[in-house]
Symmetry: C2
Subunit: 345 residues, 2 copies
DNA sequence: GTGAAAGCGCTAACAG
DNA sequence: CTGTTAGCGCTTTCAC
């Protein structure tokens, strides 16, 4: 054993038992204690049991830092989200955290306030500490993501990046069920209130809507783009009210709620005059009135699946599957959609 | 220099430059490189600059793990919240994260799903990694918290614990402004819809309401306790409607929204017949209709202040201030409160 | 199966 | 001001 203790720690107060203490108490070498925990098979079963018990009694806990230094195994995973304040992420965080804890990993949630600079700094800080990262929404360019993915196993959410494993919501199917729902309520002309043009999801949703509407023989209009905010939805109200559409699907719930409020404010009743469908099923969707029919993204599932994919990829030497995983979105029917009235308003 | 490299790392792939590489490239001792970064004063300015530049060119970044091992300085802080899904915490997380990043710390958000078991496990995992912890809401007993506080500097949010620094919302002042607002709208009889009895905040709020009402000469009723959920608020509706109260303050926004909906469902109009005030100003407060007048907890400020208090306490040898810090709550007036009608409904 | 010893990358005490 | 050295606590060859 090396001569220890000459390098006195500043805070002698709460001396935590180390592997050396356990070894001494058991009358074995430190390396044996280490093995007893990490490779139980390679040590005499009886000895191992004794070590375990003594360790337990002493309240020994392996120092994760010390373990991580030689092995790189920090048991930390990073989840980067652009805005913890956005209800969209709650479910994702929750799901990711559950899956991480399940595997005895701790999740480091990095909130980057929609800012590329903060994102860079946050990642710079977190990257060396974590074993892998899930990119919730990233302001980073594809190439920047690829560079990062070389440093640490990476999984991307709701964004497809060839070569990087990703898990995305099946917007197409989700949109289809929304349109089918509206068709079932006898709507003949439906509109899409678009979100930001740069949004990958927006493109998917609009395309899916057009296709579904076509297949079901509905007329389809498109308004926008609008900002993905209450105000953005509000701006769309006038155009929607003036149109022939009796039902609209909005880019997301926040836009849908903004739209509903503006419609109501100008005397258009929801769902009596216009049915409204949102996307995402955020917490507020059942707080507004009428409560919002919406396509629920499988938030928790997305987060959990991403983490599991990450862990799986870390475990194996082989590069992880390259095809994006599609997780089903489901329609949640609430009060904001209703059967079309016979007489046009 | 010790003979290095015999202990080959498994992944030779992405060799990150170490302090030794920089030292060699600069022709100085490793310790000098270390000093150049941690104690710039103690090294020849010219040498330091050269080292810095070389390090920059090589893309050297100190390995936080290795740094943390001898010093204990992980640059990690934990924030424990009982439920990331609860809108109440968003602001807190955001504020805490901002303050942490400002000081070059990374925040580890541990979500404990309202479960004491998960909380224990999460803390067990995180505690050895972090330098301090902020307890957002904890299911732990006072004594358990005190035990933890001995291991790591701790700050508690919205809970007062003698001996442990804490930062709490000034519910008393917040409630007073709510009651003054209602009195100004000529309400004479007001009611409090109580939350869970075990809640420290609930007790504070009710007491403050009674006192404020007394001082302003209002009659005050109390209903509850109810669960702090939409359903809980709904349950209160009947009692409220049957009472003489023309205005109610609810334990929190979620209860207030549940109450409003149930009232409206039974034909009581808000705010025409009954004014409703919530507490916390969660995201949903401006999504519901009518939008909710509410006492806004200084969420981001709470989080930020807690982190700053924590960091301050870690910095100094002296035990941190023991008096809980009171942060002001402010009334946000929206649509759910209105002047009392002359004729009683 | 077990012990000895060399490191992981960095910091800090000690000399000069 | 700078170099030397001993460790932080754990893992992992390498011998026996």
């Amino acid at each position: 054993m090396t001569c220890r203790g000459a390098y006195r720690r500043k805070v002698e107060e709460h001396r935590v038992p180390t592997i050396y203490d356990v070894a001494q108490a058991c009358g074995v070498a430190p390396s044996t204690v280490s093995r007893a925990f990490s490779r139980p098979g390679r040590v005499n079963a009886e000895t191992a049991a004794r070590i375990r018990q003594v360790a337990e009694e002493m309240g020994y806990r392996a120092n994760p830092l010390a373990r991580a230094l030689p092995t790189g195994k920090t048991s930390l995973l990073a989840l980067v989200v652009s805005d913890v304040t956005n209800p969209f992420y709650f479910g994702i965080i929750r799901g990711a955290e559950l899956a991480a804890n399940e595997a005895d990993y701790t999740l480091l949630v990095a909130d980057v306030y929609e800012s590329a600079v903060v994102e860079r700094k946050a990642l710079e800080r977190a990257l060396p500490l974590v074993e892998g990262v899930v990119l919730g929404t990233s302001r980073m360019s594809d190439s920047a993501i690829r560079v990062m993915a070389q440093q640490r196993p990476t999984v991307v959410l709701n964004r497809v990046l060839t070569g990087i494993p990703s898990v995305v919501t099946d917007n197409t199917r989700g949109m289809r069920s929304a349109v089918e729902h509206l068709a079932g309520l006898e709507h003949r002309t439906v509109a899409y209130v678009a979100g930001p043009e740069a949004s990958w999801a927006d493109g998917m949703r609009w395309r899916a809507m057009r296709e579904s509407a076509d297949e079901l023989g509905l007329r389809v209009l498109r308004f926008g783009p609008y900002a993905p905010t209450l105000g953005g939805g509000g701006e769309a109200a006038e155009a929607v009210a003036a149109s022939a559409a009796t039902a609209v699907v909005a880019y997301n719930d926040v836009v849908a709620i903004g739209l509903m409020r503006a419609l109501q404010a100008s005397g258009v009743r929801v769902p009596r005059d216009v049915s409204v469908v949102g996307f995402d099923n955020i917490f507020g969707a059942e707080l507004c009135s009428p409560t919002l029919t919406t396509v629920a993204a499988p938030l928790a599932a997305l987060g959990a699946y991403a983490v599991r994919t990450l862990l799986a990829g870390m475990g194996s030497r082989t590069p992880p599957q390259v095809r994006p995983a599609l997780l089903p979105a489901t329609l949640v029917v609430r009060e904001s959609t209703a059967r079309r009235l016979r007489r046009r308003r």
